[in-house]
């Protein structure tokens, strides 16, 4: 039922799989119904935004991509020799534990099954277990669709637990890295931890054997030499679980939508969208968005939603701080009218209206001498 509705919203194209970054971003704006519905339906938000005339302001420099690839390859080279050194130095991994398994040593279509078998064997039989599982392929159900996820490495045998290893090329300088980047890495790693826990549980083992501490590997200072740090992702896991549970409840959101509603781009034989833009924009507008300036770093639809917020004169445009200060007054004009006294406060707005009136008077008084 809900799945049928979601399929209808998407149109006759396969659902777009989510990668870990996309799943992590789901947790970024939990209040946004538009994003919840588009993601649950597996809609290609990038193409949708592009067709609407608001391509996402993202892009990655090939220098950054190359740098990331080179660093990861370096850490993983020679059976994860670099990673092995880190685990020995930082986490006291005993010398005999070096066994390396490559989950990609099978055909691509078998990689997920092979990962399962390897993880099962490890969880069952510690003597035969490996220390590194390279190129694992995990899966996670999101609102009825399976997304496949590729963590960098899974490490086992640190205290009998599995650890997700996340290799990132941003630098740790004198023990400090950019907090935003660490946070993004932690959110992404939490997705892998969750997927691996679900797998371990399915196989009949204790999901607690997957550690909530992930091993973040980054270059140290200005050299390429890697350094490892343990990052606790319990909080990210909790947020993620909550958001995924919400997505399963997306049925409620969808059932309220008009029947016949679709976000289908109506692509022609060459994959070029033919859906009239105004019509698509109207359809998307049926599902309420909750725009925040932070969307700009996490959602393909951000510029479309920003434009919409602007047209509606929404105070969301100005950021959550402003909105909080305005005590939830949603419209720019409304808030200004309250401040300037051209409009009386509605029920429950008395306090904020008083504050805005005061602010208006103080601004006027303070600017007077300057004029």
């Amino acid at each position: 039922m809900a799945t049928d509705r979601l399929d209808a919203l998407r149109g006759p194209v396969p659902p777009r799989p989510h990668d870990a970054r996309a799943i992590a971003a789901l947790a970024a704006n939990p209040g946004c119904a538009r994003r919840a519905v588009l993601d649950a339906a597996g809609i290609d938000k990038d193409s949708t935004a592009r067709h609407l005339g608001f391509p996402a302001p993202f892009g990655q420099s090939r220098f950054a991509i190359t740098r990331g690839d080179v660093f990861e390859a370096q850490v993983k080279a020679n059976g994860c020799a670099g990673l092995l050194r880190l685990l020995r130095e930082v986490l006291g991994l005993p010398i005999p534990l070096v066994a390396y398994h490559d989950a990609a040593d099978v055909g691509a279509h078998l990689r997920h099954a092979h990962t399962r078998a390897l993880i099962d064997r490890a969880a069952r039989d510690s003597d035969d277990a490996g220390t590194f599982y390279d190129h694992p392929l995990l899966s996670l159900e999101i609102a009825g669709h399976t997304s496949y996820l590729e963590p960098d490495v899974v490490a086992f045998r640190l205290g009998g637990r599995f650890h997700i290893v996340e290799i990132k090329s941003f630098a740790v300088i004198d023990g400090q890295a950019e907090p935003a980047k660490v946070a993004a890495a932690a959110r992404q790693a939490a997705v892998y931890v969750l997927a691996l826990r679900r797998l371990v549980e399915e196989l009949g083992h204790d999901p607690g054997r997957v550690s909530h501490e992930v091993i973040l590997v980054c270059p140290e200072n200005f050299a390429n030499r890697p350094v490892a740090t343990l990052v606790d992702v319990r909080r990210q896991l909790a947020v993620l679980r909550r958001q995924l549970a919400r997505m399963t409840g997306v049925g409620d959101l969808v059932s309220g939508l008009p029947s016949g509603l679709t976000f289908d781009l109506a692509a022609d034989a060459d994959g070029v969208p033919t859906r009239p833009v105004a019509e698509l924009a109207e359809a998307i507008g049926t599902v309420a968005a909750r725009y925040a300036p932070e969307c700009r770093s996490t959602c393909d639809m951000c510029l479309f939603c920003r434009d919409e917020a602007r047209d509606e004169g929404s105070t969301d445009l100005l950021g959550r701080h402003v909105r909080d200060e305005l005590g939830g007054v949603a419209g720019v004009d409304e808030a200004l009218a309250l401040a300037e006294g051209t409009r009386g406060p509605a029920d429950g707005q008395e306090e904020i209206a008083r504050l805005l009136r005061l602010a208006d008077r103080l601004r006027a008084e303070s600017l007077e001498p300057a004029r």
């Binding site: 080279a77 020799a81 490559d102």
Partner: protein
């Protein structure tokens, strides 16, 4: 006043990019080319942004032409000619790879093959040229088996499938081409020793140790316990000793595992499969 001047510049900035045609014509061909290049770059980026890949490709083509024309025009003005790039080795790629593998004696990833060749031989190999090597060798072997003195072939996993990304030599004994779970570590330690030994041979023969080779050894030694001082370079004898010390921990189990797998491979696989690995489906079950 500077104030209004700045405003002027700010105000016209956007127009430059949007309406270049309104600019006055300039007689200098370099200026004209530069403007053309600027326009084309803008158009390419717009096309890329709009995902118009065909358009972007053709625009890129035009852009390269314009840039070459600019290069020629500017060098005509300054009179400097381009220098040729580094001279490539005269040996075919497969022989260069074989040189490196022969030195290392264990299945090796393309990256390290390239690094070893760079360190001890002519260099100039690029990992990109190695990607299709194994497939070409397999094709050649299938067409005329054993007609070459050696083939660059696969290493086999304990599932008898080809191990990802590793290159080996067909003349090596089968168990040398098997990679079990411990073999990655064992082979890494062996390669480090081999590189150290080769460096030792060179210096004993009175040759200078190639600095690239010392750097490579130092990098590898970082990952072997006791092989290197924290900020010093690697010393070959120390590396050999440290690698040997760790090898004793893994060697027995690894050798036994390899021998078992090799025996199975010899029993179950035909010639082609023994060299290039079995398809994953038919031998997916371990120990089958």
């Amino acid at each position: 006043m500077a104030f209004t001047l700045m405003l002027e510049i700010r105000g016209t900035q956007g127009r430059h990019a949007e309406a270049p045609a309104t600019l006055p014509a300039v007689s200098d061909p370099l200026d004209a080319l530069e403007r053309r290049i600027g326009e084309l770059r803008g158009e390419v980026r717009r096309a890329v942004k709009a995902r118009q890949s065909t358009l972007a490709r053709s625009l890129r083509g035009e852009l390269r032409k314009a840039e070459l024309a600019w290069d020629d025009a500017v060098s005509a003005e300054h009179g400097d000619a381009p220098e040729p790039a580094g001279t490539p080795s005269l040996l075919p790629v497969r022989e260069q790879v074989h040189q490196a593998l022969a030195l290392l004696g264990v299945p090796t990833a393309a990256r390290l093959v390239v690094a070893v060749h760079e360190a001890f031989f002519a260099g100039g190999l690029s990992a990109g040229r190695l990607t299709s090597l194994r497939r070409d060798e397999e094709r050649s072997f299938r067409t005329a088996p054993f007609s070459r003195p050696y083939y660059l072939c696969a290493a086999l996993t304990d599932r008898l499938s080809p191990a990802r990304g590793l290159l080996a030599v067909s003349t090596w004994p089968l168990e040398q081409r098997i990679v079990g779970p411990l073999s990655h570590r064992v082979d890494f330690l062996v390669s480090a020793s081999r590189i150290a030994e080769h460096l030792g041979r060179l210096t004993r023969a009175g040759e200078d140790a190639p600095p690239g080779a010392l750097r490579l050894l130092s990098r590898m030694a970082q990952n072997i316990p006791g092989a290197v001082e924290r900020f010093g370079g690697a010393e070959p004898q120390t590396v050999i000793r440290a690698a040997a010390a760790e090898l004793t921990v893994h060697l027995e189990a690894d050798t036994a595992g390899r021998a078992g797998t090799a025996e199975r491979a010899a029993r179950q696989l035909g010639d082609v499969e023994q060299l290039f690995g079995a398809a994953t489906l038919s031998h997916a079950q371990r120990g089958a």
